[in-house]
């Protein structure tokens, strides 16, 4: 039985208030078709886990779809600040659970290992642990040394965008995997959007994501645009710049266009 669904069906399975982990890094291989459909379906009160986010978080902020963000960095790198995210935080509509990228990974690893927290070497001298409560100190029962720990981050749903997937959920990431494989293993449910869906008998490369961990596969061509997707396409700088100059128009366009799959 195939795991393939339409984008609308897959997004319809997301409940308001869910904790999502989104794959990719900054403007690279983020599941943006999925994010746009979240906006179209008017999802609310989402919490999102990213290491480094950009258009994904900013668009969800603009659409007033998110309640909180667990991330190390939200911004458009050399193109500037994520203005809608920034405003959402300043207006106290969005809660920032500010992590370091490394502690997002540590929290996800705790989920992978089936343990409640993960020791981490870092944060010495930082005010973030005190300000966020996300990093706390415990005494090691073996050495009696103080060590920082991060609570497990267990996404309700991880969504990643890949180059190729099959009907069983096996998936191949071309280029940098970023934290996607960690997010997949840490989550309760996994949804994959893919540039191309092939039959599981047709693989010519080795998929990194094993299908048994995946609930749903969605065909989403240009699913990471206007960000990049491995060797398939680069960042569409003009489109990202248009978004930054006039995000409201971009949002209207997203809402006005019925998803094409």
């Amino acid at each position: 039985m195939t795991k393939q669904k339409t984008l609308q069906e897959a997004v319809a399975s997301i409940q308001d208030g869910s904790l999502l982990a989104l794959g990719g890094n900054a403007l690279h291989r983020s599941p943006l078709s999925f994010v746009r459909e979240l906006v179209r379906q008017g999802k609310k009160e989402l919490s999102v886990i990213k290491t480094a986010g950009a258009l994904d978080i900013d668009l969800l902020a603009l659409a007033k779809s998110i309640r909180s963000v667990y991330a190390g960095y939200i911004g458009f790198e050399m193109l500037g600040l994520a203005q809608n995210y920034r405003k959402g935080v300043q207006n106290e509509e969005i809660i920032v659970h500010e992590h370091a990228c490394a502690s997002v990974i540590a929290g996800l690893r705790a989920s992978i290992y089936g343990v409640p927290f993960q020791p981490i070497n870092g944060f010495q001298g930082s005010e973030l642990p005190e300000l966020t409560g996300l990093v706390r100190n415990v005494t090691c029962p073996f050495t009696n040394k103080e060590t920082a720990v991060v609570e497990a981050l267990r996404p309700d749903i991880t969504v990643i965008h890949v180059s190729i997937a099959d009907e069983k959920g096996n998936a191949y990431i071309d280029g940098a995997a970023f934290e996607d494989l960690i997010m997949v293993k840490a989550a309760a449910r996994v949804i994959i959007t893919a540039e191309k869906i092939i039959d599981s008998t047709e693989w010519k490369v080795t998929p990194q994501v094993p299908g048994f961990l995946v609930e749903t596969v969605v065909l989403a061509e240009k699913g990471a645009a206007p960000g990049s997707c491995g060797s398939l396409y680069s960042i569409d700088e003009d489109e990202v710049t248009r978004y930054l100059q006039d995000p409201e128009s971009y949002l209207e366009k997203v809402k006005g266009v019925a998803s094409h799959v």
């Binding site: 890094n25 190390g72 935080v89 370091a100 490394a102 870092g122 930082s126 300000l131 940098a176 960690i182």
Partner: protein, 243 residues
């Protein structure tokens, strides 16, 4: 020489701070470090090991994105994969030599703020967040920070939020290079970049300026450095933080 811009001096200065054989990392929004690493590897640090978010070891990019330094172009020519999670682990166990980091604010102890202007709870401006810095800066052997502006808003007496603290060794700005003093753990003036005067530095820095015991004149940018800089970055992506 006279037509060199601040980005050229900063990039050359950062390249010179990389030692041969060191394992070197930069993160997002870091065009000058990305190019400085390649420059160092052409010159005095041929055996430096380059790791980045793009996930490969010792990439030799032939093109640079002017909008992102997590781009696939920065994995070009890399052989073995090495993910961002691998890089954080490397630093955590004390095996990463250099991390290039930055902050909206940097203080005299070489700490940085990338979290918020104003209070963390009720920010006047919410900033992007420190990315890897809160975990990297205390664990990497040498943190090299840079700023594209040198004024009292950037180099402050007191940070609004301490996002990351730790092993900052150098801070490079359009006016100066600071090095942390082992005596009091404070940044001291290590070099003035060409065209800058010490009065400019004193006037535009929020923390007190003292000369480092290793203070010296910034060695002239060589023809070889300029030639390689042009060869590595003909499009001038190193200028992209200065628009």
């Amino acid at each position: 020489m006279s037509n060199l811009k601040p980005a050229d001096y900063i990039t050359v200065a950062m390249a010179r701070l990389i030692n041969d054989g060191e394992r070197v990392f930069h993160g997002v929004a870091s065009p000058m470090p990305a190019i400085a690493i390649q420059l160092a590897k052409k010159l005095h640090a041929k055996n430096a090991v380059y790791v980045s978010i793009a996930g490969g070891v010792d990439a030799v990019p032939t093109d640079y994105s002017s909008v992102s330094t997590a781009d696939a172009s920065l994995a070009e020519g890399a052989l073995a994969p090495f993910t961002l999670a691998d890089i954080f682990d490397l630093s955590a166990r004390g095996a990463l030599d250099v991390a290039f980091l930055s902050g909206a604010q940097i203080d005299g102890a070489g700490r940085l703020n990338l979290s918020a202007i104003g209070s963390f709870e009720k920010p006047k401006v919410r900033l992007p967040g420190g990315a890897g810095s809160a975990a990297l800066l205390p664990t990497v052997k040498r943190g090299i920070l840079w700023k594209t502006t040198h004024d009292k808003r950037a180099l402050v007496d007191k940070l609004d939020v301490v996002t990351a603290s730790g092993n900052t060794e150098f801070v490079v700005t359009p006016l100066a290079i600071f090095k942390k003093s082992e005596q009091d753990n404070q940044l001291k003036l290590y070099s003035l970049l060409p065209t800058a005067k010490i009065e400019d530095v004193i006037e535009n820095t929020g923390f007190p300026i003292e000369k480092h015991q290793e203070f010296h004149e910034f060695p002239r940018v060589t023809d070889e450095e300029i030639q390689y800089l042009e060869e590595i970055d003909p499009k001038g992506v190193r200028y992209s933080e200065f628009s």
